[in-house]
Symmetry: C2
């Protein structure tokens, strides 16, 4: 049985929908519509309905969507109906901010360990963690079976760290180093580089 391939651009919008639904839920809203979601997200209602319809029928004509139900379905689709443990590599400013970040709670994500190569940082307390020696990275990740990593090391170390993470069994990487890193096709990769976002806007100023 051939599974339908969903465009990645659709997958990329689902977390956006989920975030909006979580917010509606926390405000006590019980039902919504593609139009209301469209208004709060700046996406067209038709697109939202089309995206959702790739996965099933979650709404009722005339009524719209039940917020809790749709959020629950999206959780299952995105596989965030359970918590994912993550490791952070790099305990500099960015890694430290991420280790203490409150925004992963309630979103099925949890930092489990943080690593650095700097002897001055190893063993130090950081948020609820003790910074671990990067030389133990492969063993620790394998032991816990962790699949997601966040890279927050200087750009000249990013590729080497990436290769090590993949050896350890990491399947998804969020890269904060401002450099393009190469990964095999089966590894998921997302990048965050604030300067890139900012330079995209200066064009219009």
């Amino acid at each position: 049985m051939q599974q339908k391939i969903i465009p990645d651009i659709v997958i990329g919008r689902l977390p956006l929908y989920y975030r909006a639904l979580q917010r509606m839920s926390s405000k006590g809203h019980t039902v919504t519509s593609s139009q209301e979601l469209a208004d709060t997200l700046g996406i067209s209602a038709a697109q939202i309905r089309k995206d959702l319809s790739q996965f099933g029928e979650f709404g009722k004509q005339g009524t719209g969507y039940n917020v809790e139900y749709l959020a629950d379905q999206l959780k299952k689709i995105l596989k965030i109906d359970h918590v994912w443990d993550m490791v952070i590599v790099g305990a500099g400013d960015v890694g430290s901010a991420l280790a203490r970040y409150q925004g992963f709670q309630d979103r099925s994500l949890r930092v489990k360990m943080i690593f650095d190569s700097d002897p001055l940082k190893i063993g130090k307390e950081l948020g609820n963690f003790i910074v671990k020696d990067i030389s133990t990275l492969i063993d620790e990740i394998k032991k816990e079976g962790i699949k997601i990593a966040i890279i927050a090391v200087p750009e000249n170390e990013a590729q080497e760290v990436t290769d090590t993470l993949i050896k350890a069994g990491i399947k998804a990487i969020l890269n904060y180093a401002p450099i393009h890193i190469a990964v095999p096709p089966e590894i998921r990769l997302q990048c965050i580089d604030p300067a890139l976002h900012l330079q995209r806007m200066t064009y219009y100023l």
Copy 2:
């Protein structure tokens, strides 16, 4: 004279090209080709040539592109041939990490001031800055004529801060609060939400 409208998706790739060229330049490479750029960026060579051709002819047949020259042209196109001052709003972990971030140097971006509303934070040192009172935000931004802001406040304050920034004359916003904020169409907006990127990858795990 009607100026050609360049698709935003093309503008979004230019900083990527610029980043790669800066890196080549720092490694001492003097010439490159659309194919080499394609290989280092994971974008097709045809697309890179097409994107660049929207703005002029920067290469030579048979030879490729002069790294310095192309980087220079991109700087002008993106308007990053001069440094842009920015303000950060929110001196929590994220704002602090951004205030100390070294990655803005050499990329024509500079943090100029950081604001918070918490009396415990106002007046404190943070990197090279003294955290300013958010109530002075409009005056300070207007005085300096700053156009770019980074929002790093809790999600329940993000929209209010946004509205204030726009009143102060801010034209481009990078939002770290995990919420969709509304802005008028003439204001540029980019958002960074690590959980969104991570939830986009769990689908595939």
